[in-house]
Amino acid sequence: MSSVEELQKKIRQLENELEAEKQKNRQVIRQKISQMSSEVVDSNPYSRLMALKRMGIVDNYELLLFDYDKVELANMNRLFYQPHQSGIQGGLKAGQPVDLVLSCVDNFEARMAINTACNELGQIWIESGVSENAVSGHIQFVIPGETACFGCAPPLVVATKTDEKTLKREGVCAASLPTTMAVVAGFLDFFPTMSMKPNETCDDRHCIRRQAEYKKREAAKPKTEKLEVKEEEVVHEDNPFEIELVSETTCEESEAAEGSQIQLAEGLKVAYTVPAPENNSGSGDTVETSGQSLDDLMAQMKSL
């Protein structure tokens, strides 16, 4: 049987050991860096973020990051996190307007959410993405109303409302895509660019509103004088059989079938037309919009 002193000694020893263990696990917290520096040294976590400034593309800028994802172990090779930080919530928040929004998301639903918000706010943004096989991708600069929004010419899965999970491939690690992309980009020297007009039949009503605003702004601008080039009508010298070209369908008929036509530049025509929107008023399976107010309906619901 050990004496009380011996036991107390044992306790002290154990306490010391515990303290030493605790000390080992204590993390050194880096002080907040007040000024982001573009200097490339291992102690500066911002050097990659500041690459644009270093390249002389931008003068001085502030970057706000929004990331509601949890930091995962698979992120470690690309992001400025260390393994012990996995599981923490990343991101900063801000309420003030920004000059440019950069979309860095990995699915179409999130892209459409950004698109909807930016159309509503009239916020300029850049959308970018890479295909699941990492050999193609796109970068789209969106000025709401002026250039096509993401919903104006949506990818097939979005347009057909297919579940985008069907795109995911077994055995493809999304986290390794940047590496593959970088290698592929090294081989390619093909990067076509084009300008895309907004779609007049875009599903997003804020996009339509922005388009109208843009048209108004353009119309208000002072017009530059245009030289009019008169084209002479082609009239054949003789037409003894009085042959004329007549359309099989009248303008009204085609409009009823295909909806209103988009105004295209001369010589262009659309390959596909969208059927005119169905008039639902005739079918009985939709809700009837009676004159009841919302309060009436709420009360009716309660009384059931």
Partner: protein, 132 residues
């Protein structure tokens, strides 16, 4: 994926028309009216009357009660993320809250309740009282 019983109850719920969200002002009020009309129609139909819902004034928060008949098979079982969500996405804006209850909550209950009963996590109240 969707069985005949679900299809039948689904067909009885009137479809909605307005595509709008809570940020869309007057359009949202219209949508909300449609939601209420659709729910009222659904609850008046005795076969489909298994839940009660009400919302705040803005229609952004909904709360209520639902009833489930254990061991009385009604409707199929589907997974919310794999089955319900894509089905819902394909049917914007026609599907409303009543459809979500019928296609989402109903089948979800059909999966979860028997499981909870089997594990003994929930018990029947009336039986409990009788035993006590």
């Amino acid at each position: 994926m969707v069985d005949e019983a679900t299809k039948k109850s689904l067909a009885q719920i009137p479809l909605l028309k307005t595509k709008a969200g809570p940020r869309d002002g007057e359009l949202w009020v219209g949508r909300l009216k449609e939601e209420y009309q659709s729910l009222i129609k659904n609850n008046k139909d005795s076969d489909n009357d298994w839940f009660r819902l009400e919302s705040n004034k803005e229609g952004t928060r909904w709360f209520g009660k639902c009833w489930y008949f254990h061991n009385l098979l009604k409707g199929g079982k589907i997974c919310l993320t794999d089955h319900f969500k894509p089905l819902w996405a394909r049917n914007v804006p026609k599907f409303g809250i009543a459809h979500a209850m019928s296609l989402g909550l109903g089948p979800w209950l059909a999966v979860e309740i028997p499981d909870l009963v089997d594990k003994g996590i929930i018990t029947h109240k009336a039986k409990e009282e009788a035993a006590a």
